[in-house]
Assembly symmetry: none
Homo-oligomer: 218 residues x 2
């Protein structure tokens, strides 16, 4: 499951274009960001698709799978933790650190990341003010809200879900995952449950207990 540095850079770039939702990004945009040519991007997209890290259909742009999103977030976690280290401990200024962090983010060692995180006392934001994903790849978003508070007819993107394994299992069963677009079709006052439409397709009923544990972003 370990990516090459190049594969990691592609994942990161795709994530930066598509964000936490399931938006797509074009071959040319990826090439422009990475400073490579479109032809090279196409080749790499095939490799990433074969590993089920992205969804790729010819001439159609790409989106990250849950697995790809997870990988990207963990690389971003490393990048931002190292940036924090460089500024807070080594006294670099915030504008000198990017290039070095680009290298450090590719060091492969789970133990290293976790110990670095502890050593730095679990910072939540990097020196540029961007949030640092936690070890599960969950990223704070201050303008997120609980699904239960979303009003009827409104749409939002699933941002954070609590890390209870049972809840996660249930959600994946009914087709909700990080980045899903939810529309509130109806709120049932009797039990505060909600009728939702997922990604403009399937409809599903969720209890208030569940809706309290999902955070979404408009």
């Amino acid at each position: 499951m370990i990516q090459t540095t190049s594969e990691e850079n592609y994942l990161k770039t795709i994530f930066h274009h598509t964000g936490i939702g399931n938006q797509s990004v074009t071959t040319n945009d990826i090439a422009a960001t990475l400073g490579t040519k479109a032809a090279s991007v196409t080749e790499m997209l095939k490799k990433l698709a074969a590993q089920k890290l992205i969804r790729y259909k010819k001439y159609n742009g790409v989106t990250l799978t849950d697995s790809g999103k997870q990988q990207a977030l963990l690389i971003i976690r490393k990048h931002r933790l190292w940036e924090y280290f460089l500024v807070e401990k080594l006294k670099f200024s915030w504008d000198e650190i990017h290039e070095v962090a680009e290298q450090l983010e590719h060091i492969q060692s789970d133990a290293l990341v976790e110990r670095l995180d502890s050593f730095l006392e679990n910072p939540k934001f990097d020196p540029h003010g961007d949030p640092i994903p936690d070890k599960k790849g969950i990223i704070i978003n201050t303008d997120s809200q609980k699904l239960i508070d979303l009003s009827e007819k409104k749409e939002a993107i699933v941002n954070l879900v609590s890390d209870q394994p049972e809840l996660l299992r249930h959600l994946s069963k009914i087709g909700i995952s990080l980045g899903s677009k939810l529309k509130v079709l109806e709120k049932i006052p009797f039990d505060n449950s909600m009728l939702l439409q997922i990604n403009g397709k399937s409809k599903v009923q969720v209890s208030a207990d569940i809706a309290k544990n999902i955070r979404v972003q408009i």
Copy 2:
């Protein structure tokens, strides 16, 4: 003048075989250390020779040029500084750090190395007791040895002590300082502690933990 990771690994391996002198090392020995095949080594040797980092004559083994030696020492400097960081700051044990340091040593940034060195307060030895070359690639006399390795009845001069302030305070309290002449009167197998005579006068008992952190020269 920047080397690839692979070139850096070859330089480092050659240095570890040839040392600070101008000894030579064979193709096969390099291959064995790196886990590659002799044919691959031959190819790389040509590249390094073209950069004047090694002296290479077919079928004749290689030696490092001054420039190659310098490069190798700076890589070793990085490796050992990162090892020190991993143990002293991130609390890894000394036997878990090698693999990660192998990756970190290839990060390219002069500023990073110098700031890391300052942050660590310019350590002179890594957690395995090996000396850390300074920024010019100058390495402390490698034929100094750890006091703990000195055998009974032998005498030696204190060369360097680790820079832990507490240790330094303790040593000055019992009368050991840079340049003191120590004679090993007795080694106690039970706890590896040592009974020493200092400058032919006072006797003192030091624990194994202390004896590991003092370097002496015969």
